[in-house]
């Protein structure tokens, strides 16, 4: 264990641990502000520069609100129910935060300071980075269950069980839509996937990539318990689900973990479908790729906030039916379409490809534009028809609710 190695590890990890929690504070403010505007309110607008006399006068659109919230959280009383499992009650928020923080290092963000460190420290250079990402985000489920069970509260337990059912169901379409990208690149390495989309070769611009992105985004919403899939913490049904018995700093940790998980899964979506750090001007100024990456993450987060302000919450039966009857068949069909399209594009030369290069780009080089256009339109048509049909099929059983005890 040499000193250089320790230095490299610190250089690779510490900035991530500083940048994303800071962005988290900003995102909470953004979310409150945006939701308020959607609901025709103003939102936080009083707190300015904290701990100064000018806090009220220079309110800066309420930008000081996250810091005030943080201070409030730190000083609130930590309440543990008498019958709770004290150890698990303490461990759950920690377990919720760690996997979310851990997967951030699999995002291929080209921070300027990581250019001089050795490759073995960069987690996104791992050969199976994408698989590791999914493996570690899956641990979040356990934290939610732990919180729900340890609280000894029926609402918490209900929330925990709902969360497990939801996360396990939506993880399948999530992983299956990532498979499309792995097929097009021929690698599980996050950096290679991002590099394969340099320029404007983003995978969202292919029909199967577009479909996969939409499936991925919906599943990501469910994985991070965002509205309209926020059944595990549905305030109006089960108080706050697994959060119910949490207060103070532990609650803040859960909150932080949830937002970091949002960043992580949006970052993976950016890596897989939106070209990673690719964007105008990156060739001239390499550090722009960091800006583009973060801008794309924030674009996805803005869509999440917008959806939260717009869509009502799903019912449990609708939630599970949507995952198993709609998303799962569609993503399997999508894999089939992507595979046949790659095969048709290749026309028998799939075996002769260079393994170190992205597969799709090699196939596109010598392809006839007419064939490509036909494939694109055909694939989009099949996907559209399939989505419509599945929608009809999975909806057939949902009737208007029958009220047994009222009227």
């Amino acid at each position: 264990m040499s000193l250089e190695l320790i230095r490299d590890i610190l250089v690779a990890t510490v900035p991530l641990l500083l940048i994303f929690p800071t962005l988290f504070a900003f995102t909470t403010w953004l979310e409150r502000k945006a939701l308020a505007r959607i609901q025709n309110r103003i939102g936080p607008n009083k707190v300015g520069v904290p701990l100064t006399r000018y806090g009220g006068r220079f309110s800066l659109f309420g930008l000081g609100q996250p810091m005030a919230d943080g201070i409030k959280m730190l000083f609130k009383e930590n309440i543990v129910p008498r019958d709770a499992d004290r150890l698990f009650h303490l461990l759950a928020p920690i377990l919720a935060l760690i996997p979310a923080m851990l997967v951030l290092c699999f995002l291929p963000i080209d921070f300027p300071w990581i250019n001089n460190i050795q490759d073995s420290v960069k987690a996104f250079m791992l050969d199976g980075a994408v698989i590791f990402f999914f493996a570690i985000t899956g641990l979040n489920t356990l934290a939610v269950f732990m919180a729900g069970w340890a609280s000894r509260n029926k609402y918490s337990l209900l929330g925990g069980m709902r969360a497990i059912a939801q996360m396990v169901s939506y993880e399948i379409p999530l992983v299956l839509s990532a498979v499309i990208v792995v097929m097009m690149v021929g690698s599980l390495n996050a950096a290679e996937i991002a590099n394969a989309q340099a320029g404007w070769n983003w995978f969202i611009f292919t029909p199967w990539g577009l479909a996969a992105f939409i499936i991925f985004f919906i599943a990501a919403l469910a994985e991070t318990n965002r509205s309209p899939f926020d059944l595990p913490e549905a305030e109006s049904e089960i108080i706050a689900g697994y959060f119910t018995e949490y207060s103070g700093f532990k609650f803040a940790l859960f909150f932080l973990g949830e937002y970091i998980a949002m960043f992580a899964i949006s970052g993976l979506a950016v890596t897989l479908f939106l070209g990673g750090g690719a964007g105008p001007g990156v060739a001239a100024l390499p550090w722009l790729s960091v800006i583009w990456f973060l801008v794309k993450i924030f674009a996805l987060i803005a869509v999440m906030i917008w959806l939260r302000g717009t869509l009502p919450r799903l019912r449990v039966d609708q939630l599970m039916g949507f995952a198993w009857k709609f998303l799962l068949p569609l993503s399997i069909l999508n894999i089939f379409i992507a595979g046949s399209a790659l095969h048709l594009l290749a026309g028998g030369r799939l075996a002769g490809l260079d393994e170190k290069q992205p597969i799709l780009r090699q196939l596109m080089e010598g392809a006839n534009p007419l064939v490509v256009a036909g494939l694109w339109i055909g694939a989009l048509l099949i996907l559209y028809v399939a989505a419509n049909g599945l929608n009809q099929l999975s909806r057939a059983k949902v009737r208007p609710r029958e009220y047994k005890y009222a009227e």
């Binding site: 264990m1 698990f88 050969d127 999914f134 493996a135 641990l139 356990l142 069970w149 396990v168 393994e355």
Partner: protein
């Protein structure tokens, strides 16, 4: 040096996790101890340069098997298990003896040739070769495995569903 430190720490965690999982009365605590054991084993796989297996270990054992065990525990009786009943089976003493005897038998060949030569040739940790192997010589195995998993899925659903009672008149659903 760092490899040795990692090995000792991980193996201590694995042994402790396994012991707690097997001896704990509270089943939920037991499942989480089992998951710590799985995680430590995943770390050991990483030490052995089997990167893909380490990821699969987390994905399958902690992400899937662990959740399944939690569900099974929640669906059956007495989660906390603290009802004062006997925890051990009738023949526990002979069980211990057999386990100890098996340990000695497994230990013997390892002790007999104790000083082993250090192997310096390290395998290539890349996933690529594994993928080629799975697609070329072992593709039949993979397909059979897919069939097995599908059969297990259907079998598990039918077994857990049990006998469906005939629908009564006027009952809900």
């Amino acid at each position: 040096m760092s490899e040795q430190i990692a090995f000792w720490i991980l193996s201590a965690i694995a042994v402790l996790g396994a012991l707690v999982a097997v001896r704990k009365r509270n089943l939920i605590h037991g499942v989480f101890a089992l998951m710590i054991f799985f995680a430590a084993l995943s770390g050991l796989f990483l030490l052995l340069l089997a990167e893909f297996i380490a990821a699969v270990q987390i994905l399958v054992y902690i992400g899937a098997v662990g959740i399944l065990l939690l569900f099974a525990i929640m669906l059956t009786e007495r989660v906390a298990g603290d009802d004062g009943r006997r925890m051990t089976s009738r023949g526990w003493f002979w069980g211990l003896v057999v386990a100890a005897a098996v340990f000695v038998v497994l230990l013997l060949p390892a002790i007999q040739q104790w000083p082993t030569p250090e192997v310096t040739q390290a395998p290539d940790p890349s996933v690529e070769e594994l993928g080629h192997k799975l697609m070329n010589p072992y593709v039949m195995t993979l397909e059979v495995l897919a069939l097995l998993l599908t059969a297990a899925l259907i079998g598990a659903v039918t077994a857990a569903q049990g006998m469906r009672k005939p629908k009564e008149e006027g009952s809900p659903e």
